[in-house]
Amino acid sequence: MSGLNGLTLAVPRGALMRDTLELLDVLGVDTAEVRANDRKLLFEEAGIVTMRPSDVAIYVEAGAADLGITGKDVLAEQSERAVYELLDLRFGPCVMVVATTEGEDRLAEALRRLGVMRVATKYPRIAKRHFERTGRQAEIVEVKGSVELAPLTGLAEGIVDLTATGTTLRENGLVVREEILASTARLIANPVAHKLEAAALDDLVARMREALARG
């Protein structure tokens, strides 16, 4: 078998896209059209659909794609999605962290003096779970854009966000206080496709494992 074995794969646009396409090249999938075309979303011939990483789990759960590649951060945030997590693809490493402005820990201060802290994040469920598990009362403020802005403007005392190199945090004068979860890219599968397309799917996973082992 070759290419994607007739399966449909949800490919994440953004930070994970380059490594994903490189992996697909090794598997013999023709990604030239995907690389050449920034606006097109559906590449039927190659069996590829492209989307935001946070949408991948939704498409795969609904069966609109048989397989998908997305970060563990997305899967942890959307933990109720009924999808199989098949393989750690090891690229796109990053860490979900709690960060505040440099100097005194404003989160700790708020908790001590006010009994509650405000935390801005794009990952409300991971943040909520983390503070519940560690027994601290936190008001989670969900934002869609640059979350680093929140502690600088006084919207929140701290943030929960994903960081790969820490550069954005540093440039905004923020420091990491806690690490919540380490994330890498994962291959996920729809539960029905996992049964009905077992042979095609297993062969693809085996070839991905091989490609990863070769580095």
């Binding site: 069966g63 109720e80 539960p191 029905v192 496709a193 049964k195």
Partner: protein, 303 residues
């Protein structure tokens, strides 16, 4: 509604022809009753208090209420007992197509027919029901809830680690499973077995590779009519979210829908918890999902 009613009529016709009698139970059960059947049965569910402060739960499935009925209203009836239902169950889920907080289930419970014979009958009735509805492309994923725990025992996996490992399997996280198993440092052979067995699914060749662990499944298949056996996909990693299953477990798939249409299995310990120690097996189909799959099949949709 007309299409949904037609589905329900078709299923009821099969229940009748097979001698399954319809039962009704209250939508509200005491929480203590549901959790006696399965600690997970009252989660995630809707709860309220009665005037004495008892916690009441909107039933999350029909199996536990019927287990209660068997041991109270049918305490002296001679087995086998054949029950069916078309009833609503309630789960606190995020509503989406094919998954509502109130869902209509059609299913059966076969009480007092042990082991493979009983499992084979429930699977046969299941296929008859799906045929009667008019679904053409459905498949039955068939696994065994006792298979993986037996494998963990055989490799001497200690109790604290078992829970974590079974949780990874239940949440379909093979990456997590790999980490949990590798952390046990069991040696190459045991690690390979614990990781590869739950990923095996497909035709009868899957059973050959599994050795004596799959004896239970082999015995079930030997009892199945050819047209039912032809629908089966063996799945040694199949794990259902409820923990009362003791043997065969199964799920129904159709390429027209990305989620299972229903499922069931064998639960030989459940009735004993309510005072009547009888083996039993059963299944439930989600009527709304049947409807979606049927419409999808007729429009030529597939995954």
């Amino acid at each position: 509604m007309r299409e949904v009613d037609a589905i329900v009529r078709s299923v009821r016709g099969v229940f009748d022809a097979r001698g399954y009698g319809e039962v009704r139970t209250p939508a509200l059960e005491y929480e203590a009753v549901l959790t006696r059947g399965d600690p997970a049965a009252a989660e995630p569910a809707y709860k309220l208090f009665d005037e004495q402060g008892n916690v009441l739960v909107l039933r999350s499935d029909m199996t536990i209420p019927i287990a209660r009925v068997v041991s109270t209203r049918y305490a002296t009836a001679n087995p086998p007992l054949r029950f069916c239902y078309v009833a609503h169950a309630y789960r606190s889920v995020r509503p989406q197509r094919g998954q509502n907080r109130e869902m209509l289930q059609a299913g059966i419970e076969l009480v007092g027919v042990p082991e493979h014979e009983g499992t084979a009958e429930t699977l046969t009735v299941l296929c008859e029901a799906l045929d009667a509805i008019g679904l053409a492309g459905y498949r039955i994923g068939l696994g065994d809830a006792s298979l993986y725990p037996a494998l963990l025992d055989a490799h001497g996996v200690p109790a604290p680690a078992r829970g974590a490992i079974l949780h990874e399997l239940q949440t379909r996280d093979f990456v997590g499973l790999e980490r949990a198993v590798e952390a046990l440092r069991l040696g190459a052979e045991a690690t390979e077995a614990l990781l590869s067995v739950p990923q095996r699914r497909g035709g009868p060749e899957v059973l050959e590779a599994a050795g004596p662990a799959a004896d239970g499944l082999r015995a079930v298949v030997a009892q199945l009519p050819a047209e039912v056996a032809g629908r089966v996909i063996f799945d040694l990693g199949l794990a259902r979210s409820l923990t009362y299953y003791t043997g065969a477990v199964f799920e129904v798939y159709d390429a027209a829908l990305g989620a299972p249409l229903g499922g069931g299995g064998r639960y030989d310990d459940l009735l004993g918890r309510f005072g009547r120690d009888l083996p039993a097996a059963g299944w439930a189909l989600n009527v709304e999902r049947l409807h979606i799959a049927l419409v999808g099949e007729r429009r030529g949709e597939r995954l």
